[in-house]
């Protein structure tokens, strides 16, 4: 199958997932509400000290993205399982990696929209200086989210075949995300530090995120065919 056909199949999946989500908004509203609530609860748990909150804001932000993202990934395959659409999807001719890539792009779009609301909310709640290095912060968010969504989409496909998938997905996903979480939190914290990243600490963490993203993108595309089979 030519790459044009494969690209057309990827576009079809993205269009289908985002159209269904746009019409119901059930998942988006729930995820955004959950994310806002998590930010708020972390705020209460860390106490009213703004200095301390700013120090750990990077960690709080990424944990909130991780927790709320898991809800989105589960839903991503749920609509395929409802009514037996997954079997139909698997029987279409062509490479199954286009199913994975389509889901990946749709989930990236979804998480980007959630972050568009989540990040300004975090900046407001924790008085974060996002204006220090906006481009570098956007890069860290993009790289961290890409790796997270790649693995999340992959493990959600794997978990979709079992009954306790809602519980299984975080159990499979979170341990794999440790290097990404460390890199994203360190880079974000360095950029949000007083006066910005004057020591240039974020650079090495950003490089780690790039390597993580590349390795797991290639690995998940290669093995998706095996995990999606019954």
């Amino acid at each position: 199958m030519s790459w044009q056909l494969e690209a057309s199949r990827v576009r079809a999946i993205v269009w289908k997932d985002l159209t269904a989500e746009r019409r119901t908004k059930a998942n988006f509203n729930a995820v955004v509400f959950f994310a806002a609530l998590t930010l708020l609860l972390f705020g209460f748990a860390t106490g009213p000290n703004p200095e301390r909150q700013r120090e750990i804001a990077g960690g709080i932000l990424w944990l909130t993205i991780l927790f709320s993202g898991v809800l989105a990934f589960n839903r991503s395959y749920e609509q395929e399982l409802e009514g037996g659409a997954l079997d139909v999807l698997l029987l279409y001719p062509g490479e199954r990696r286009s199913i994975f890539l389509g889901k990946l792009v749709a989930n990236l779009g979804f998480i980007a929209l959630v972050e568009l609301i989540l990040v300004p909310t975090a900046a407001l709640l924790y008085q974060l200086p996002f204006g220090n290095a906006p481009l570098a912060l956007i890069s860290v968010l993009a790289l961290g989210s890409f790796g997270f969504v790649t693995l999340g989409t992959f493990y959600a496909a794997m978990a979709s075949r079992v009954r306790a998938r809602e519980v299984l997905l975080p159990l499979l996903l979170f341990p794999m995300l440790v290097p990404l979480l460390v890199g994203a939190v360190e880079a974000t914290s360095a950029l949000l530090g007083p006066g910005g990243d004057v020591m240039g600490n974020s650079g090495s963490w950003i490089r780690l995120l790039i390597v993580f993203d590349l390795i797991f993108l290639v690995a998940t595309v290669l093995v998706f065919d095996y995990v999606i089979e019954d």
């Binding site: 159209t19 037996g84 139909v88 029987l91 062509g94 019954d230």
Partner: protein
Amino acid sequence: MILVNAREATVDLSGVARRFGRRWVLRGVDLSVGAGESVALMGNNGSGKTTLLRVIATLLRPTRGSARVLGFDVPADAARVRAQVGLLGHQAGLYEDLTAAENLRFSQQMAGLQHDASAIDRVLAQIGLSPERDHRVRGFSAGMRRRLALGRLLLRPPRLLLLDEPYAAFDADGVALVNRFARQVTSAGGTTVIVTHDYARAQGAVDRVVRLEEGRVLDGLPREPEPLTV
């Protein structure tokens, strides 16, 4: 092995067994179905009919035995088989928040066909769903969903048509529609396998009946009627 005629076998199974956990659902099925032939697969609940259909469709790997479909080995050449197989399963496999036309459009794109609105309109007319063209599937009855699922196959008539309980939820018109399609596939040199409990409805579309009992083929007599059950 039951040899039907000298024509090339579209489905050629030898000693196919399939296990789920510790339970053997198929226990060595030998079956050959030729090109241009239509077969009804019958048997009691739990006899392995749906599992056998899913093995032929490449959705399940046989635990033991050899399965050749359309001249290709399953699962080694599953991708080539999938390009020529059409399956109507227990569930319709539709997307609830897309309209009837959008579901067919998605199917066209995933099957690698050019988007053709006139083909979609023609299929919708064939299945009697033209008035519901732009209505979301969520509001459809079970019969309408089955019709739309059949319409998806009509967009790209397969060489091997697999129908799992296709008469469920269908009125007389729907039954005629299924049988007409099955005959259309076989008269074009294709093959149809119909899993059903309802021989009375299938008899217009099949050449012979194959019975399964406890995961084995019992016989393959031409047009043997199934005793009516209440």
